[in-house]
């Protein structure tokens, strides 16, 4: 299994946060609000398509909408494998951070 980079983690978590409605602008907004990081849509899509080739997310095209000038949205969803990979990585992180005051204690 591939490891997931920092940027990938961020995007992946944002997709999970937004649930069924995860597409570019929504993901971007989530990252902006929660992580205070300003990523461009290009960067987000680049990351998402990398995740997709790793099998961590899947995507499908929605219906074209008028407020987007008749352009369709592409919705992203995390796969089961993606979820496992994330858990694996985060638990490794937590294990390493245990006992250190870095703000990553188990809840």
């Amino acid at each position: 299994m591939d490891t997931i980079g920092e940027l990938e983690q961020l995007v992946l978590l944002a997709v999970m946060q937004t649930g069924d409605d995860a597409y570019g602008v929504v993901v971007q907004t989530a990252i902006r609000q929660k992580a205070r990081r300003d990523l461009t849509l290009g960067t987000i899509y680049k990351t998402l398509s990398r995740l997709e080739t790793k099998g961590i997310v899947t995507s499908e095209l929605g219906e074209p909408t008028a407020e987007r000038g008749g352009r369709a949205k592409r919705y992203y969803r995390v796969t089961a494998a993606g979820r496992r990979a994330l858990q694996h990585q985060l638990s490794a992180l937590r294990a390493m951070a245990a006992g250190l005051d870095v703000g990553l204690e188990a809840p």
Binding site: G24, T40, G69
Partner: protein, 875 residues
């Protein structure tokens, strides 16, 4: 629907297809949200950043450039097509413009190429030549059989010499008599041309003798049409003039007789030098020779001139002057059509140039509008060359589509064009849209595409169009480089349009003047048709003339027919019987220098039927036909002037060629008529009763003057003629008006094409003027707004726009006038009654173009006037 920012539109096609919708849509959504929450400035800054990054990650072109030039070109073309699809009206205008020029170009090239440039379909056609004698006035004339025999025997520089005469015959197979055009040829005719038979064999030397010439060779077309391409026809006999002749051969399908273009059947001439009609002065034969390999035409001509001197010293009274002409076959055949064909070819090339200028102009304008896109792409690392390549690829789409559509147009035009060519023109059967022409125009299209790509780049060089500097919008652009280039193109277009318009004007003036010429006869309400009296039922002249009188009499009884007569040839009908004539009281020591005149042999009231005015003496009467002692003849006024200048010609005696007795008596003088063509004023003619003619004549032309519309009576007249002998075919049924009109077919075609091309050229030039002005008005909206705000009146604004437009027009017209003065002389051969530099035509053409340019200025000018200063300034 939400407004889509321009930058999104620009970058969208460049984004990877699977993410194109998602990213472009997100950009739109983001932009809308930013606009609402953070204001226009921030929103725009974000948008640019987003767009830039989207392109950096998903833009295709910068990476494609590194990958593979072929693939990048394919994607360029695909992108070009997408661009065109986004601006369909632009694409349609460009493609139509090119098609309207390329179509006619292809059609005209298809006509001109086989006629003027492609070698004739014979073996080594460059070695073939006509041999003409030198006439009294130094022009080439046809030859007598004995002369040809002498040339054949003495000329060592000629490999062979053949002779050919026209032949009209009735094919009476299977109950459907048909009049055929054919040729009588010496046995070595096809050998001289180096044409092998497709079926059967060529003529033999033995068959080319009197009473042995009972064999024929068929053209491929006749063989297919009348004999169902039956190869067993060889060796069978067919009935010609109700005599039996044996078919010995069939010519190949690509055979084309350039000497007798309408000939479909060939028979041996069957002359020997001792026959009366084989004499030196019996000049009814055309001689064609093959010059030996390795011998120059000059050397051969020198030898022929030597032979001519020998002949003239041996037979001084039988040659008008010393010398032969040895004229290359193809050049000579096309001598008359050549000036018209070249003029039309030149005209269509001008149209093509104008169209290309227009399309380049449109692309220049388009490239101004697309500045933002280019700037973005340049910012992403595309080199200048890369962008030129892109433009060429786009141009290629337009040019190839235009060429394709043009070729379809050419296919449609070509048959119509061929049907309007003069009937006697050779090689028309070889006119097709050839692969070579299609390829040539394909290459032209590619060149056009390259120009489309390069010109905006060259023009923009100084302005660094492709620099990485980003421009905020197209309105901003359109600097002087572009404007100057576009104006220069329009000036060129107007100049070329003036050339074409002047040409069309000169040709139409010529045609008007031609139809205004006094023809000497009244062509209105006259029906004409050729009819035969041939075969065993007409063994001698008495029987033929009796039949002819019956035809005239029967036709006269048809209701609606006022007068009727039969005549051997029609004025302006295409064929002339010319004879040297002499006055009895003025003996000529050199008969070959006797003045030539056209002989009309008539049955019935020919002069009255044609309304040819008698200016002195009287018309011929029925009694004259039986008057074998005085043999009355009517001569034309100009012949009277030549034979008896300053004297009264009535009752004078003149020679009647081929008459039973040598002298006739002038009983009347008739007005001159136009005979050879409307522009040929040689009116020398004589009219006499056919009864006095020596030889049998199987064919005559009926002329019938009718009351009212000729077409109403035509069928009845035809039926009347048929009722005399149903076995004899009737051909060339037409009105005299039609005969006159056909005599100008070549001019009419030239005029038609010039007029069409000139119209197209003017339209394109006007579109050019309009395009440039419309562009400049929208570019200068702000300026015009400021001017208006500062007090410029409507008139000032009009003047501002008109000055620019009419400035271009003036420059073009000045340039065009210089060009017209230099170029119209190439039309000289097609002009009549008008000088190539006719001031009326020149001024008229200038006025037309000026008016059209003015109208083209008005729409942009009105738009400029309507600009609201406040709106303009806020932009």
């Amino acid at each position: 629907m939400t407004r889509i920012p321009r930058v999104v539109r620009v970058i969208e096609p460049l984004i990877r297809p699977d993410l194109r919708d998602a990213i472009a849509g997100d950009l739109v959504e983001r932009f809308a949200a930013d606009l609402e929450q953070r204001g226009a400035v921030i929103a725009h800054l974000h948008l640019w950043r987003e767009a830039f990054m989207a392109l950096r990650h998903f833009g295709r072109l910068p990476t494609a450039q590194r990958v593979n030039p072929v693939r990048s070109f394919v994607s360029d073309v695909r992108y070009g097509l997408r661009v065109l699809r986004r601006t369909p009206s632009f694409a349609i205008v460009c493609i139509t413009t090119l098609a309207l020029a390329i179509g006619p170009t292809a059609a005209i090239l298809s006509v001109v190429d086989p006629l003027l440039f492609r070698p004739l379909p014979y073996g080594r056609p460059d070695r073939l030549a006509f041999v003409w004698e030198r006439g009294g006035n130094g022009s080439p004339i046809t030859t007598g059989y004995s002369t040809i025999e002498d040339v054949r025997a003495r000329a060592t520089t000629l490999a062979s010499v053949a002779a050919v005469a026209s032949w009209q015959i009735t094919l009476s197979a299977t109950g459907n008599p048909e009049r055929l055009e054919g040729a009588r040829v010496t046995w070595n005719y096809f050998r001289t041309l180096a044409v092998p038979m497709m079926l059967g064999r060529d003529f033999t030397r033995d068959e080319d003798a009197q009473n042995k010439n009972t064999v024929v060779i068929l053209s491929h077309r006749l063989w297919v049409r009348r004999f169902n391409a039956d190869s067993s026809i060889v060796g069978r006999t067919i009935s010609l003039n109700e005599n039996q002749r044996t078919v010995v051969g069939v010519l190949p399908p690509d055979y084309d007789d350039v000497i007798n273009p309408t000939a479909q059947i060939f028979t041996p001439l069957g002359y020997v030098a001792t026959l009366p009609w084989a004499c030196r002065t019996c000049r009814h034969l055309t001689a064609v020779a093959r010059v030996r390999d390795g011998v120059t035409f000059e050397r051969s001509t020198a030898e022929l001139n030597q032979i001519s001197s020998q002949l003239v010293s041996a037979f001084p009274k039988e040659y008008p002057s010393v010398g032969f002409f040895l004229n290359p076959l193809q050049q000579d055949v096309m001598r008359e059509a050549r000036p018209a064909l070249l003029a039309i070819l030149g005209a269509v090339m001008l149209v093509l140039l104008i169209a290309i200028a227009n399309v380049v102009n449109l692309h220049l304008a388009q490239s101004i509008r697309r500045e933002t896109e280019f700037a973005v792409r340049a910012a992403l690392g595309a080199s200048g060359w890369r962008l030129i390549q892109q433009l060429i690829a786009e141009g290629l789409g337009v040019a190839l589509a235009g060429a394709g559509l043009g070729l379809v147009l050419a296919r449609v035009m070509l048959p119509a064009l061929v049907s309007r060519l003069p009937a006697k023109l050779a090689r028309t059967g070889a006119i097709h849209l050839e692969t070579g022409i299609v390829l040539t125009l394909g290459i032209v299209a590619v060149l056009v595409a390259i120009v489309i790509g390069l010109v905006p780049a060259i023009v923009a060089k100084r302005r660094a169009l492709y620099s990485s500097e980003m421009r905020s919008g197209a309105r901003h652009g359109g600097g002087t480089g572009h404007a100057r280039a576009r104006a220069a193109l329009v000036v060129g277009e107007i100049a070329l349009a003036l050339l074409l318009l002047t040409g069309a004007g000169l040709l139409s003036m010529s045609l008007v003047k031609l139809f205004d010429v006094d023809r000497g006869f009244d062509a209105h309400n006259v029906i004409t048709m050729r009819f035969q009296s041939s075969g065993p039922r007409y063994p001698n002249n008495i029987a033929i003339l009796a039949a002819r009188r019956r035809v005239v009499a029967t036709a006269s009884t048809v209701p609606g027919v006022v007068d009727a007569a039969a005549v051997t040839i029609l004025p302006l009908g295409g064929g002339l019987d010319r004879y040297g004539v002499m006055a009895m009281d003025k003996p000529q020591d050199h008969p070959e220098r006797a003045p030539a005149a056209t002989g009309y042999r008539v049955v019935g009231d020919y002069l009255k039927t044609m309304r040819i005015r008698i200016v002195a003496g009287r018309d011929l009467t029925d009694a004259d036909a039986r008057d074998t002692s005085t043999r009355p003849v009517v001569i034309s006024a100009s012949l009277a002037k030549v034979l008896w200048p300053g004297e009264n010609p009535i009752d004078k005696r003149m020679s009647i060629p081929n008459s039973r007795k040598p002298w006739g008596t002038v009983v009347g003088v008739a007005n001159d008529v136009r005979q050879r063509s409307l522009n040929d004023d040689d009116g020398r003619a004589f009219y006499y009763p056919e009864d006095h003619w020596l030889f049998p004549l199987n064919e005559s032309t009926l002329v019938a003057r009718v009351l009212g519309d000729p077409s109403a009576v035509l069928r009845a007249v035809r039926t009347a003629v048929t009722s005399v002998d149903a076995s004899q075919p009737i051909v060339d049924v037409r009105t005299m008006d039609d005969v006159v009109s056909r005599s100008t077919a070549q001019r009419q075609l030239a005029l038609l094409l010039f007029a069409a091309f000139a119209g197209l050229a003017v339209l394109l030039a006007a579109a050019g003027v309009y395009g440039v002005l419309a562009g400049s008005v929208s570019e200068r909206t702000k300026e015009i707004g400021v001017r208006t705000a500062l007090g410029a009146t409507t008139l000032d604004t009009y003047a501002l726009v008109l000055r620019r437009g009419l400035g271009m027009a003036g420059g073009g017209l000045l340039l065009g006038l210089v060009g017209a003065l230099a170029a119209t002389r190439y039309l000289q051969a097609l002009l009549f009654g008008v000088a190539p530099t006719d001031p009326t035509v020149l001024v008229g053409s200038v006025a037309v173009l000026l008016l059209v340019s003015f109208l083209a200025c008005l729409i942009p000018a009105r738009r400029a006037v309507r600009i609201e200063p406040m709106v303009a300034l806020r932009q």
